[in-house]
């Protein structure tokens, strides 16, 4: 402990750290809640344009990414339970799989966005502003903001999982002190859950 005024009995309260994490998840949900609100208002105002623009998105990549995130949620949940069963090797392996899946998600996202850029579609692009209706401009504006913010959360989630992985390896996170891994799992489920809402809103509804 590196702090000047360290308390004599730095207590470990698993309940407290879990409660703190849940509260933080509330704030994340409200952050995206604002975006979902904006999306619903503009969808309500421009139903036809949103339908047209939605057909431009690649349903296959979206579906594959959904499956990838669902599987990664499963692997991180399994890593938590294998930590409880004191199987450190399996825990580490499952966390590595989770990180790999997150990386594949991001690579897919990169290609998906890349295709849009090739078509001249990005926020403020000339093609978007000159050739498309206002509803489509809004759709793609929100598409890039919401999937972009979600991708940012994927990156943050990966960093958290890497930290957790490192601490599991060192034995700092173990079956008696699993909070960090459990909280990383909670955060990852949140990231997954937000995608579960983003996917139908942008790709599926017609």
């Amino acid at each position: 402990m590196e702090n000047a005024t360290q308390h004599s009995d730095p207590h470990y309260d698993q309940e407290a750290s879990k409660l703190g994490m849940w509260l933080f998840i509330f704030t994340e949900l409200l952050l995206f809640g604002g975006l979902f609100l904006v999306y619903s208002i503009y969808r309500f105002l421009n139903p036809e344009a949103f339908r047209l623009a939605g057909e431009e998105l690649n349903l296959t990549i979206g579906a594959i990414n959904t499956i990838i995130l669902l599987v990664s949620s499963m692997t991180i949940a399994m890593s938590t339970s294998s930590l409880q069963k004191k199987n450190k090797g399996l825990t580490i392996f499952l966390l590595e799989v989770t990180i790999m899946l997150a990386l594949i998600f991001l690579i897919n996202k990169y290609f998906e966005w890349g295709v849009k850029f090739d078509h001249g579609i990005w926020p403020g692009s000339q093609h978007l502003i000159n050739d498309m209706s206002k509803g489509e401009i809004l759709f793609f504006g929100l598409y890039f903001v919401m999937t972009g913010l979600h991708a940012l959360h994927i990156i943050v989630g990966m960093i958290i999982i890497i930290v957790a992985l490192n601490k599991v390896q060192k034995g700092i996170v173990n079956e008696n002190r699993p909070s960090l891994l459990e909280n990383a799992g909670l955060y990852w489920h949140l990231v997954d859950l937000i995608w579960i809402f983003l996917f139908p809103l942008f790709y599926l509804i017609h």
């Binding site: 702090n3 005024t5 604002g34 503009y42 926020p123």
Partner: protein
Amino acid sequence: MQTAAQIPHDVSYLDYKGKYKGIFAWIFSTDHKRIALLYMFSMMTLFLVGVALGLAMKLELIAPGRTIMGPQSYNAVFTVHGVIMIFMIVIPGLPAVFGNFMLPIMIGAKDVAFPKLNLLSWYIYVLGALLVIASVLFGNGIPDTGWTFYAPYSFKTGTNLLPAIFGAFVLGFSSILTGLNFIVTIHRMRAPGMTWFKMPLFPWSLYGTAWIQLLATPVVGITLVLVSLERIFGIGVFDPTLGGDPVLYQHLFWIYSHPAVYVMILPAMGAISEIIPTFSQKHIFGYKAIIASTLAIAFVGYFVWGHHMFTSGMSGTAQYTFSILTFIVAIPSAIKVFNWISTMHKGSINPDIPFLWAVTFIFVFMIGGFSGLVLGALATNVYVHDTAFVVAHFHFIVFGGVGFAFFGAIHYWYPKMFGRMYDKAWAKMGWAFFTVGFLTLYSPMFYLGMMGMPRRYYDYLPEFHAANILSSLGSWVMAFGLVIVIINLFRSAKNGPIAPMDPWHGKTLEWTVPSPPPVENFDEIPVYGEKDGPYNY
């Protein structure tokens, strides 16, 4: 890692020598008491900047036409004044300073639940403040949108707005983390036997505040992100030329920023609820009613944001719904005032400095509250919307409410925090000048607003001259009082007479530990018995 034996219980948190020396003993400390003082000193610095800007505006308005600055400078001054005062002073104010210092002690804990996160919150706070300062010092032009960053001007103006918006976003993050920390602390770390309804009222008010911080701040966070992206890329959501709706920005902004008003005022009310019983030497009247009204304000406060937008274009149904809800949120505040007055009734009142600030708080808060009803009513709102009346109203509530409560709280808890007493004659003189100056400064603005003087202009018509002179004179008297108060507090921290453990005969837990408190707060964690309570006089 140190063991219990290494931290002696008779060393105060101010004298404790840890691993680091000098300033690092403070900025690397996770002790909630030191973090509270870090917040206090950073806020005091920023507050003086904000006050200087306020004085500059009042000096500009002492005569019609250009006095000391032109229109663009005036716009920049009221923007920076607003951003500093709102985001860096009154929103974090009482929770970050007195909440951090007193919450763990008042509930019988050794620290907050996440001490490192607490220090991180302060770092984030400083980062946010630096970003705002950067927007002033660098780039082409100081932000001139007003503290609300209204669309579409916020992405049309050529001034250096992005760092300021990002700074406000970062400050919000600090606020969220502090709120999160307090909720977990209150849930998990109350002393054994201290049930929810034996908890003192200041922690209760912090609890209500923390929930608002947690649930409302993310919404303004994403709104500020959206308006920044609008400025950088042109995503269209708030830009009418691309199909977006600027009024939607106002809705999203006020969904947060109205509850934020209760983030400011609830801890202030909590501090007053501590001062009044101590100086009346009497159990607080209607303990549960005060808690219920705290929670009611926190809840109903979410549904009144529309009253900032009565002239922005909303349906009639929305307008009168927001108007009725605004009247409803006034009721719990009135309950609190009733309870404070009833607590004084037949008490043995000791009219010492903190009590003077507290009573003045009630006075200015009521003026602010009643003028709020004028603004909450649709017909009168349209008449005084965007006039000096609004400025007078929220300075009575925000500065009158939070400011007086802050000074009341600091005079109340000062002997506990620093172990020394301030000079009471000077403190009383500072209070008197401040109060007289405050009323002279803001009262004429009610009149000016009723007469039709718009706010946020560097100029005005000649018929408003007399009242503006009075107001500007008031600003000098108030600043004079402020200087006396601050110098007195600063000097006494080193030279004041040593304060006893319980100078005011208070009954809450912070008065059972030495002044200043030891690093660990308590030798032994206190236990609350069946008959114990925070206000058993």
